[in-house]
């Protein structure tokens, strides 16, 4: 470094801002500020608790429905009406006041109706339909349940209960369950 640079640096480094100026520039110590929303914490806690209850209830209901459907599927009770026509089965199950048309999409092309009977899922009157998978010939059980408030809270889920795969979903005003032996 050039000597004159050093002299200039040393000159300025000897110059200091007085302590009183430093103190004046010092911002006040942080002090805890009262929360602007003191009610927010309990509200958040309450919402989390409600959410946990809701999710827990939904989860347990979903599990219960899947378990009941799996049990019914495994029982392989005889169909009261044997027909491959959904309208004919619906006409015979005249206590049922909701549609027994098959689910949308490719279901009708993939499965053929074998027959149907009454059943109940979670005390709700439901239709239990036996269907055959066209590609494999494997028998499955389709459950159609009116969409009550309890069922409407359930998400589309898949379960495995004692060797039975159970798929649950909602379409329109109906709740469906499809059980398949592994």
């Amino acid at each position: 470094m050039n000597p004159i640079d050093t002299q200039i640096r040393e000159y300025y480094q000897k110059q200091t801002l007085p302590e009183e100026n430093l103190q004046a520039m010092q911002p006040p110590e942080d002090t805890p500020q009262p929360s602007q929303w003191p009610w927010l914490l309990p509200l958040a806690a309450a919402m989390i608790a409600l959410l946990a209850i809701f999710l827990g209830k939904s989860f347990s209901l979903s599990q219960a429905v899947a378990a009941e459907i799996a049990k019914n599927h495994t029982a392989q009770l005889a169909m009261e009406i044997s027909s491959s026509d959904y309208q004919e089965v619906a006409a015979q199950l005249d206590q049922i006041d909701f549609s027994l048309t098959p689910p949308g999409g490719v279901f009708s092309r993939q499965f053929t109706l074998i027959g149907g009977r009454y059943c109940s899922i979670q005390t709700e009157l439901a239709a239990q339909l036996r269907v055959r998978e066209n590609a494999t010939g494997k028998m499955h059980t389709l459950y159609i349940i009116p969409l009550t408030d309890d069922f409407s809270a359930l998400k589309e889920t898949k379960h495995s209960v004692k060797g039975v795969k159970v798929q649950l979903w909602t379409e329109g005003d109906r709740f469906f369950g499809l059980a398949s032996s592994k």
Binding site: P3, I4, Q7, Y12, T16, L17, N21, M25, P27, D30
Partner: protein, 174 residues
């Protein structure tokens, strides 16, 4: 962020170092202790009011510089803004001698802009390009002015100009 949070020994040291740098930069502009203290404090408080983050060197220097220019304008002084465009001159040799005599007085004889450049270059270690970015002048002009200012200091020292009836405490606080 508070420079003075309770666990912030490092922050306190950084604050002091930055505040002193700001003050020395202000002194290079004003060449007057009391004015430099005021400039530093005003700039610091302005940045504290305006910004949400920690105060850093670049904005602090720019704020000090702007406040100083404002004060010159209020006083009707425009000398500071005229930094002549000059061609690039060669870097001086490191074997060039220093100056003997009252450096503070010699620095006071320089133009404000030249003194500022010397401070940024010699004390803060800014390159010509960094100074150019800070004050918005071409790099060549910066280099030229730095060398010219050093030459002026040597010239003053060579003439051994003693401070003519310089007030005893020109730069001291009133």
């Amino acid at each position: 962020m508070n420079w003075f949070n309770k666990s912030g020994i490092r922050e306190t040291a950084q604050f002091r170092e930055l505040a002193q740098s700001g003050f020395r930069y202000a002194l290079s502009l004003a060449h007057h202790h009391h004015d430099a203290e005021d400039l530093t404090q005003q700039a610091w408080l302005k940045l504290q009011r305006n910004g949400s983050g920690p105060i850093v060197r670049g904005p602090l220097f720019k704020t000090i510089r702007n406040l100083f220019i404002d004060s010159l304008r209020r006083k009707g002084i425009i000398e500071f803004e005229s930094l002549p465009e000059e061609t690039l001159v060669a870097e001086e040799s490191t074997s060039e001698p220093g100056v003997t005599g009252d450096l503070e007085y010699f620095l006071g004889q320089l133009k404000t802009g030249d003194r500022e450049l010397l401070y940024l270059h010699c004390v803060e270690g800014y390159t010509a390009q960094e100074i150019s970015d800070l004050i918005g002048r071409p790099r060549g002009t910066i280099l030229s002015a730095i060398n010219r200012a050093k030459a002026k200091l040597r010239e003053l020292a060579a003439k051994q100009e003693s401070p003519p009836s310089r007030p005893a405490k020109e730069n001291a606080r009133p």
